[in-house]
Symmetry: C2
DNA sequence: AAACACGTTCGGTATTACCGAACAGTGTTC
DNA sequence: GAACACTGTTCGGTAATACCGAACGTGTTT
């Protein structure tokens, strides 16, 4: 008897498509060397032959590619195109990129821009630092608001009641010993953030890593998103935080200006 | 009696998944404002209710999002994440990015890197010019080799027989009046390219646009890909082409060094 | 209020997605 | 060198379901 454990309701969905997208998710979460059909089958709740048919279909469309013989399934080129289009379809992406480039040059760090997705920051654009240091900073995923500088920068500009509601949804799990875990601490931090003009994540999300973030706006109400810059925690950085903060703030302000200022001058 | 006119074979594929991916393709090709269900139904070879079920499934997984009421379907956030992971899973992407950043700063133009996908260039990484000029340069799509500087740069480094085979596949359609359309012209151009060290696309792909490209290598055999830089054709640019060419060449050489030189020094 | 658009819901049926088992390669072990 | 263990691939058969067409709401236009 087959059942769909991930499907509570009985609404209008196509099961096999769900399976296919689950399969892609498994490949995403898997090692970059890819997954074999056998490994995929173990992860899927389907038979080997069905998994095979799904994989073949996805390969046909370029969503996956089977490298080597026997094939190991990795993400395909078509997804690069889709992701590029998807992020371009968010108008913010194009607006942010040049600002981020400048910010990365100024600070020498990796900088990113997130949009406000119902209180959660979702990073949509990233410019790596000119230096050799790289961070694992995936795009397109919802981050936890209370341990990221972008999240806190946005929260600081929202009414207290809204903040309470947002963190109630996600909880306040500690990602490191330095994470903020109570609403009281958070409010205090947000107060400081508001006065200071930018948010600081001091090893609250990853040990050894700090972030500085500032929100930007579109219509004056809730923040439209935030920019942030990320670096490794070092003694020398501590003294520069004020300088970095001002750069980040300036970048956020520039984006706000671009968003609110000239609304469609060209067409 | 229903039949699938686009389906000749009877191989192991999942039809509804194909339909779903086709639906995504239509959204990609559609306007950035999105498509309504009715518009999608017109494009798909399915009934309205079936298209509806597919769209809902894709929205559930974040591949699409329905904005507004009535909903217009646009590409979803999940694709940003997938695309980011997909391009990161190509080791070249990370290697190329810092080189491209430097190249863009040097030249003041948009620069890109393509991998060699069976003779076709597929651009996987892009760094926009610091200036205000933007080009429509989508990532992840197979470009035509004979009208792009990246393509010609790669072809120039392949044996003549291989070149003949590749252009036989794609044909030599003219994209502009200045496009190369015969194999003889192409060979001559490739000879010059080889001697010069970099390829030039002088309004052969788009009028008013020039590109300069150079190939990079991994194992000494066929080129692994190419970098290129793109600008608008102007008088002053003509004199600088040699300077730009050398920058592009240097960037390609740097990538070659990174690829062939230190193979896994760290782990 | 009638007409039209749109998205959504509903039964019913024929299609097909799915399974389990058999087949075919490849490298390893006895 | 045969048996094994492990891949990915192919094959019928059946129960599930993807699909269709029509009906239903809801909002906008005549």
């Amino acid at each position: 008897m087959t059942k769909k454990p991930t499907d509570g309701g009985r609404s209008y969905r196509v099961g096999s498509v769900s399976h296919a997208l689950d399969l892609i998710d498994h490949v995403v979460s898997g090692p970059s060397s890819g997954l074999s059909l056998a490994e995929l089958t173990a992860l899927m709740e389907l038979s080997k032959s069905s998994t095979y048919a799904l994989a073949r279909t996805l390969v046909d469309h370029g969503y996956l590619r089977g490298v080597g013989q026997p094939p190991r399934y990795q993400l395909g080129m078509a997804l690069v195109r889709l992701g590029d289009r998807a992020s371009s379809s968010i108008p913010l992406t194009d607006i942010c990129r040049p600002v981020l480039v400048k910010l990365s040059q100024e600070t020498g760090l990796t900088s990113r821009a997130a949009i406000n997705d119902n209180g959660y920051p979702v990073f949509i654009s990233r410019v790596d630092s000119p230096g050799p240091i790289r961070f694992y900073t995936p795009l397109g995923v919802r981050e936890v608001p209370h341990t990221s500088s972008a999240g806190k920068a946005m929260l600081a500009m929202m009414p207290a009641e809204r903040v309470r509601q947002i963190v109630a949804e996600t909880g306040m799990a500690a990602r490191t010993p330095k994470s903020i875990t109570t609403i009281a601490e958070l409010s205090a931090d947000l107060d400081i953030t508001r006065k200071r003009g930018f948010a600081i994540d001091d090893e609250e999300d990853d040990l050894g890593v700090f972030c500085i973030g500032a929100a930007f706006f579109r219509h004056g109400s809730e923040p439209a998103g935030a920019v942030s810059t990320t670096g490794i925690k070092q003694d020398r950085a501590a003294r520069q935080i004020d300088v970095l903060g001002r750069s980040v703030q300036a970048a956020a302000d520039e984006i706000t200006q671009l968003l609110t200022g000239l609304e469609r001058t060209d067409f």
